[in-house]
Symmetry: C2
Subunit: 346 residues, 2 copies
């Protein structure tokens, strides 16, 4: 480490890229009306067409896996990125095209990681809409491409991972002991209505509701009883589930006891136990000491790790803010470096 | 105060009742299929028909505004209740019937408060679906019935209070300087889909999403710029908006700058400023020290106050847990007593 090193590596764990081919395919689908997902139309209809500064900068930075990205990392003191295909990735395509696009993205990302060893790591993109091929791609990513986990962008065409049809995907991740990053997506069709109407469907609120609900659905459906070795990573400091933790436990028990829903059954543990056992969280988009310290209190310091959410939240001051968290040196090293090394086996 | 007094009164601020006439009307609407709100059908379809212990106990306790309630208060050390008609109150009826049911509930509640001075306080139920009559009822509640605020149960037939049609309601509350308790409701039709499918539409998750979204909609629509004196009270420790506070500020500014939504305009302050200026929160259903202390840190100790959510969460151990919060005596008195006295002018 150089003389001005803070004493830890900064490993950013929820960092995005997009092959130009996928952005072009999305644009073509939007223009032709071939996709009617309201969240996708709202988000990428804007980001792929607007001339405002933010969308222009994002389009330029997303496609770069080389010098520009490394220069941005250097400028903000980021030693390593754990990179994934940006949301919704292949999940918006039909199954065949989605599987092909996942493979294309994975090949490009693997090549970039090979070119920049020690700086860039990759997660495997998949198209869960073809669970069998998705499971095979997870295996190719882990065994052949050197990837460190799997990226899934919340709902796939309005379906959630607690649906047994997706179990082959979770089974493969568990068998390979490779973590699944449950990344935000725009809310599914049945959830987005009053958020979209108010301009709140995106990063400001909709992402968090969608992804928090997805994680909670997996928990209460018993996914982690069925796949106890499954490891999940979730952004936004756990999508507010740590805030709700005690209430989730109380109301889950009360609802199960009252036999209100046939689909809500007793679990082997309380909902919050799964948060502390199967889930790790990152600070993507939540560079704010009060919420970070609270989440560390609730989940434990070994469960919370740094993310920048490059290029969406490329803000040097947020790195500084997290350098200044009131943590002992060993805890800060865990937060910025060793938790990520352990979870992703870097 | 008696010798074993903790040094403060315990004032519970989100406590529910229901006239038998309203429960009967709901049951009749459910049985006849006259109401198709999916959240209402899920919640009250269960609570009005199930023989499980929880719904039976709730039905019995909700209708009592006398000896049983007072005995329950005594048994858990509650000195005073701030009582409101349980959700969704009159908001599920058509406008005329809703207005009549609100008046009926208010008359019953006012009578009980007169019978038990110093123990029971009331909030004014309204039917916002007739904004003009709702405004008149707010005035009747404040001026003639001695009520201390207004209760609104989130969406009214899928509509939210940022809709200008409801401004007469907010205008009346501001003019009378009477606080509006924005109480949870089941999620509106456009929001409930994937929560209902998983058994998560109720207290465990849906209430919080619905009500947090409602508050955020009011903030970003500029309601508090238009009605700067409007005072809101929100349960569940602010419906997770304190957890998201920094992100709301960052993403609101970024979204406004990018001109993505015509309806998202610059505000006079940051979203979190309105939380600290126009909003007070209660601990209803969140009797958990980590979240309470976090929310006090974010919003300030003068903004967080005690609630039990009787009879839904009639749990003596939760009172004890909050008696044991790590707060100085003056702060604990503010939490249990004086914040409520100030906000509701008791």
């Amino acid at each position: 480490m150089p003389a001005d090193s803070p004493g830890y590596l900064r490993i950013a764990t929820e960092e995005a890229f997009a092959p130009p081919e996928i952005l072009a395919a999305w644009r073509e689908m939007l223009d032709s009306g071939a996709v009617d997902d309201p969240g996708f139309r709202s988000l990428w209809g804007f980001y792929l067409s607007s001339d405002a500064e933010r969308p222009r900068s994002l389009r330029e930075r997303l496609v770069d896996l080389g010098e520009r990205r490394l220069a941005d990392m250097d400028a903000t003191g980021i030693d390593q990125q754990v990179i994934s295909l940006t949301a919704p990735g292949p999940q918006i395509f039909d199954a065949d095209r989605g599987s092909a696009m996942a493979a294309l993205a994975n090949d490009q990302l693997a090549e970039a990681c090979r070119r920049h060893p020690g700086r860039l790591h990759g997660l495997t993109a998949i198209a869960p809409q073809d669970p069998k091929r998705a499971a095979e791609e997870i295996e190719r990513g882990a065994r052949s491409l050197g990837f460190k986990g799997v990226i899934i962008n919340s709902h796939t065409r309005d379906e959630y991972l607690d649906d047994p049809k997706f179990w082959p995907v979770l089974e493969a991740a568990e068998a390979l002991d490779t973590p699944v990053y449950l990344h935000p997506n725009t809310p599914s069709r049945g959830l987005i209505g009053p958020m979209l109407a108010a301009g709140l469907d995106g990063a400001i609120f909709g992402f968090g509701v969608e992804t928090g609900l997805h994680l909670l659905r997996m928990i209460v459906a018993g996914v982690f009883d069925r796949f106890p070795g499954l490891r999940l990573v979730v952004g936004h400091l756990g999508e507010a589930l740590p805030f709700w933790a005690a209430r989730l436990d109380y109301m889950h028990a009360a609802t199960v006891r009252s036999r209100r829903y046939p689909q809500l059954r007793e679990l082997q543990a309380r909902p919050s136990d799964y948060l502390r056992r199967n889930v790790w969280v990152t600070t993507s988009g939540m560079a704010w000491a009060p919420a970070i310290m609270f989440t560390r209190d609730v989940l434990g310091g070994d469960r919370v790790m740094y993310a920048m959410d490059y290029p969406y939240q490329y803000v040097a001051a947020e790195v500084t803010a997290q350098d200044e968290l009131p943590l002992a040196p060993a805890d800060k090293k865990a937060f910025f470096q060793t938790n990520a090394e352990r979870v992703f086996r870097l």
